[in-house]
């Protein structure tokens, strides 16, 4: 199996290489997208096969100078192949339907390499291969983000993304270097044998959280994500949000659960819980304030990554406190939510892409009423929206239910400070989930319901063929994962055992639940109960009430009738994106996101209109964009002085550097 997957990664790289020539024709471009979709499907199948079969290892016949590159398919890798594969398969299918002619090679070449990088990162069994995959993923996705570089905001997004990707890569390299220690053997087996302790463990944790956490979008290193994810083409946005964040979470899970060894204190989970709770709230709140569909979805990704991080942190804490059953519960919540989010966020991004094709805009204030013109997209997106809003019986509810159960049991860890922090994290996770529900209602309601806000939206056209299937497949998967999370968790059982350090309690096909005696959730029965209740209500109403409806004009709340050239009514009398977000901007935005809202009144007698000035600024971006450019300028100014040095001073510098190196070498040799 692993050999097939390794060959698949190689084939993807090859596909990327030949894509240069294939891009010249529509058929060739379709072949590349079809190849990516097929590869995604095979990766997901490989994940399932890897979970069913035992672990496998493979040493490649090439690699870095100090040893072969190693691959392994253990349960944790196999589980994370699922979100990567499913997301890429749907996105490839979607892109297939969107090709109508030759494509610029820069849009096509990095696309298979992006997927190859993610697969390589997940399959790696030594630090070098993992970093190679991680960096391939970063660079390929950067090229895709920078694809539409004609627009200034895309250039800014790509620049910021490149900076964060570089920072993340360096942090991860340092983390693996610190784990490998003096021996320098980066194979996972060797790293496991010498787990870091004391300050080294703390440093490794901090570096991994900085490196992989910035890629996953954990607060406060999330600031690039709402800019870069939307800047890429829609199918790439879907994979970046659906799969790339999961690969980053996989790197975190691999390092903290596997490579750092089981003998860590329960406090090691605390940073993940804190950062996860902060991400959940900030991400979901920003999703309520953004007025661009894809930016909104990217902010919702930050929220979901935060929830997964809380689950991972709780699992670590439970394992450190020797509560394996609860650790398995928290790990199950994290793994299931990672998969669920990959599927429904892919669906939502693809739906936003379909809206962009059909109605020509990403701005909520230029859309509206699309449920009439694009019904399939609208209803498929509603499934994803309901899952993202954690409504039963869809997939998001199942995993967030598990997460809440794990949080409600966090007091069992025993330490008073941890208990208080966990209680606060419980409140923040619930706040994040409720904010996400508000954001999703805002997204679907403003884009698909109401009246068209522009003539372009009124004339929107739905795509067909492959793009339609690319929406229907993840929508169906979201329903399936919602109704049968027990099947997914049974599949994840070996991965849970690896993470929790003990056998996870088997919960059965129809039910998921906490340990013995705890609460249970029966999604299929809940769905049947809901269907019965709705059916009974329908039957009872049918018996008493006359059927059919009468159509009439809507009462427009006292606004004067719209002129004849506005057949859909006055767009200004509909709620706008900013207007719908106003209550939350006022209630929470002021304190958390420095939101401002004020009216600039004109002096008496002036004919100019009063203006509403409203907006917000992410404090993390402000904190970074303030000092960092200043430091860069200061550093550049210092470096400029080197140019004015005389030849003697230049030689002196070189000599000094050599002496310093020799001293360092001597110290290291002796130590």
């Amino acid at each position: 199996m692993l050999t097939v997957l390794a060959l698949l990664v190689g084939a993807l790289v090859l596909l990327g290489a030949v894509a240069w020539w294939l891009a010249r024709s529509a058929i060739g471009a379709r072949a590349v997208h079809g190849g990516v979709a097929l590869a995604g499907l095979m990766l997901a199948a490989g994940g399932v096969a890897g979970l069913l079969a035992g672990p496998a290892v493979l040493a490649l016949p090439f690699g870095p100078p100090w040893g072969p590159a190693r691959l392994a398919l253990d349960p944790l890798s196999a589980w994370f192949l699922l979100p990567v594969g499913l997301s890429a398969a749907c996105a490839g299918l979607f892109a297939l339907g969107g090709v109508h002619g030759p494509v610029p090679p820069r849009a096509l070449v990095p696309w298979p390499i992006f997927l190859a990088g993610m697969a390589l990162c997940v399959l790696a069994a030594d630090g070098f291969t993992l970093l190679l995959g991680f960096e391939a993923m970063s660079v390929a996705s950067w090229v895709l983000v920078a694809q539409d570089h004609a627009q200034a905001e895309n250039r800014r997004a790509a620049r910021l993304y490149l900076g964060f990707a570089g920072f993340g890569g360096v942090s991860l390299m340092l983390a693996f270097g610190l784990m490998a220690g003096g021996a320098g053997d980066m194979a996972f087996a060797a790293l496991r044998d010498a787990p870091p302790e004391g300050w080294r463990a703390a440093a490794v944790l901090a570096l991994v959280l900085a490196g992989a956490g910035s890629k996953a979008g954990l607060f406060p290193l999330h600031v690039w994500l709402p800019l870069a994810h939307p800047a890429a083409p829609s199918h790439v946005s879907a994979v970046m949000s659906g799969a790339m964040t999961k690969v980053a979470l996989y790197v975190i899970a691999r390092c903290v659960f596997d490579l750092m060894g089981p003998a860590q204190s329960f406090w090691i989970g605390a940073p993940l819980i804190v950062l996860g709770a902060a991400s959940a709230v900030i991400g979901a709140l920003r999703a309520n304030l953004e007025d661009d569909t894809k930016t909104l979805l990217a902010c919702s990704t930050i929220e979901n990554v935060g929830l997964v991080a809380i689950g991972l942190g709780l699992a670590l804490a439970f394992r450190g406190a020797d509560l394996p059953a609860l650790a398995a519960l928290a790990a199950a919540a994290a793994l299931l939510h990672a998969l669920n989010h990959a599927v429904f966020k892919t669906l939502l991004f693809l739906a936003a892409g379909e809206v962009l094709h059909g109605a020509g805009s990403r701005a909520i204030d230029r859309l509206g009423g699309l449920v009439h013109r694009m019904p399939v997209t609208a209803w498929a997106a509603l499934v994803g929206v309901a899952a993202a809003a954690a409504l039963p019986p869809l997939s998001g509810f199942a995993s967030e239910w598990l997460l809440l159960q794990a949080l409600l049991a966090a007091w069992r860890v025993g330490d008073l400070a941890f208990q208080m922090g966990a209680a606060a994290a419980t409140a923040l996770a619930a706040l994040g989930a409720a904010l996400a529900a508000a954001a999703m209602v805002r997204f679907w309601g403003l884009v698909f319901l109401g009246r068209p806000r522009t003539p372009r939206a009124a004339g929107a056209e739905e795509g067909g063929g492959a793009a339609r299937w690319a929406l229907l497949v993840p929508a169906g998967l979201t329903v399936l994962l919602g109704l049968l999370p027990g099947v997914a968790l049974d599949l994840a059982e070996p991965a849970l055992r690896l993470m929790a350090g003990a056998a996870a309690p088997r919960t059965g096909l129809l039910v998921v639940g906490a340990a013995e005696g705890g609460a249970r959730y029966w999604p299929l029965l809940v769905a049947v109960l809901l269907a019965l209740a709705v059916g009974a209500v329908l039957w009872a109403v049918r018996r008493r009430a006359p059927s059919g409806v009468v159509r009439g004009p809507a009462w427009d709340c006292g606004f004067i009738a719209a002129p004849a050239h506005l057949p859909f009514g006055d767009p200004a009398s509909q709620p706008t994106a900013a207007g719908f977000g106003q209550p939350l901007r006022r209630m929470l935005g002021g304190s958390l996101l420095a939101a401002r809202e004020g009216v600039a009144m004109r002096p008496p007698g002036s004919m100019a209109p009063a203006r509403l000035d409203a907006g917000f600024a992410d404090p993390a971006l402000v904190a970074l964009e303030g000092p960092l450019p200043r430091w860069r300028d200061a550093l550049a100014g210092q470096a400029e002085r080197l140019r004015d040095l005389s030849i003697r001073q230049c030689l002196g510098l070189t000599f000094g550097a050599v002496v310093l190196m020799l001293v360092l070498l001597a110290v290291l040799e002796r130590g």
């Binding site: 409140a427 409720a434 109401g450 609460a519 809940v526 509909q574």
Partner: protein, 319 residues
């Protein structure tokens, strides 16, 4: 045998709560009218209103989509499903393994989202305003509810409502400060979720107070009847939840023979009546607060819930 009793109790419970919901609203309105010195309509008036609305053909806006026609059924279906899970006169009903507090919150959220989307369907300013406010209030209500559930889950070991009710009835937990704080938090959430004073006024159509009414402004005929009925069911559900968790006296234990059900039924009617009286008195005594004061109200509930949990940690840590 216990299974037969369980199914029978479940069927009885569903019939009871479906019938009790309009009556409870009627009684509450009548009590409020009496306290304000009016004579008040008969407690049966909501039933008559529903029957009248059902007979009328709904008028829909020209651009209304299927959401306007489907959402009322989803909302009532979710409310019925949630109400079927909250025990009333007996524990150990057939659905009791399903009766999870978080699931009930999820089902209520499903109804809330259905209503918010229905409010946005036509694209009128009012509907959008109401939907935005409703979702914003829920943002504060849900954490408060989950934190209250934290205290209950620590004391009872689970979030299953049936087990919590049983633990509080038989476990001899006594009066606990944490439980009291959780009660305050849950009452605040119940007030917000049911759009009662001081969060929203259920009996006005004044623009500034409108949250719940703004979303169903476009509904008429059977759709309006369904929205009204869903609101009544939610109120009955919340009062039943409060009485099941915090006032578990008289409830027939799981598997008990039907003669204990009579006691349970009488106790339940008395408890619901007492809660309705308390709610009516509370609503008559205070004024509605400004919309942007609601986060303070629910934030206080959240903090009290957290305080209850912390108190529990400290007290169990010391003992």
């Amino acid at each position: 045998m216990a299974m037969v009793w369980g199914i029978l109790a479940q069927a009885l419970h569903i019939a009871l709560i479906l019938a009790a919901a309009p009556l409870l609203t009627g009684v509450l309105r009548w009590l409020k009218a009496r306290m304000m010195g009016r004579r008040g309509a008969s407690p049966l008036q909501p039933l008559r209103d529903l029957a009248k609305l059902l007979r009328k053909t709904p008028v829909l806006a020209e651009n209304a989509s299927a959401v306007s026609r489907v959402a009322p059924y989803v909302a009532v279906g979710a409310a019925v499903a949630a109400a079927a899970l909250v025990p009333s006169f007996a524990r150990g009903m057939a659905f009791s393994p399903l009766a999870d507090l978080i699931l009930v919150a999820g089902l209520l959220a499903l109804g809330r989202v259905a209503m918010a989307l229905a409010g946005m369907d036509v694209g009128t300013p009012f509907g959008g305003l109401g939907a935005a406010r409703e979702m914003s209030f829920a943002v504060f209500a849900e954490p408060a509810l989950v934190v209250a559930a934290l205290t209950l889950a620590i004391l009872a070991g689970t979030t299953n409502i049936d087990t919590i009710a049983g633990a509080f009835r038989e476990g001899g937990l006594g009066l606990r400060v944490s439980l009291g704080l959780a009660l305050v938090g849950m009452v605040a959430v119940a007030i917000a979720e049911n759009a009662r004073i001081p969060v929203d006024n259920p009996s006005t159509h004044l623009e500034l107070t409108m949250v719940h009414e703004a979303m169903i402004l476009e509904a008429s005929g059977r759709h309006l009847a369904l929205w009204e009925y869903a609101a009544m069911l939610r109120l009955a559900l919340w009062l039943a939840l409060l009485s099941a968790v915090f006032l578990p006296f008289g409830q027939a234990p799981a598997g008990a023979a039907p003669h204990l059900w009579v006691v349970g039924l009488l106790a339940w009617v008395a408890k619901m009546g007492a809660l309705a009286l308390a709610l009516a008195a509370f609503e008559s005594a205070i004024a509605k607060m400004r919309v942007f004061r609601v986060p303070e109200f629910l934030g206080a509930a959240l903090l009290l819930g957290l305080l209850g949990a912390v108190y529990l940690f400290v007290s169990t840590g010391l003992s």
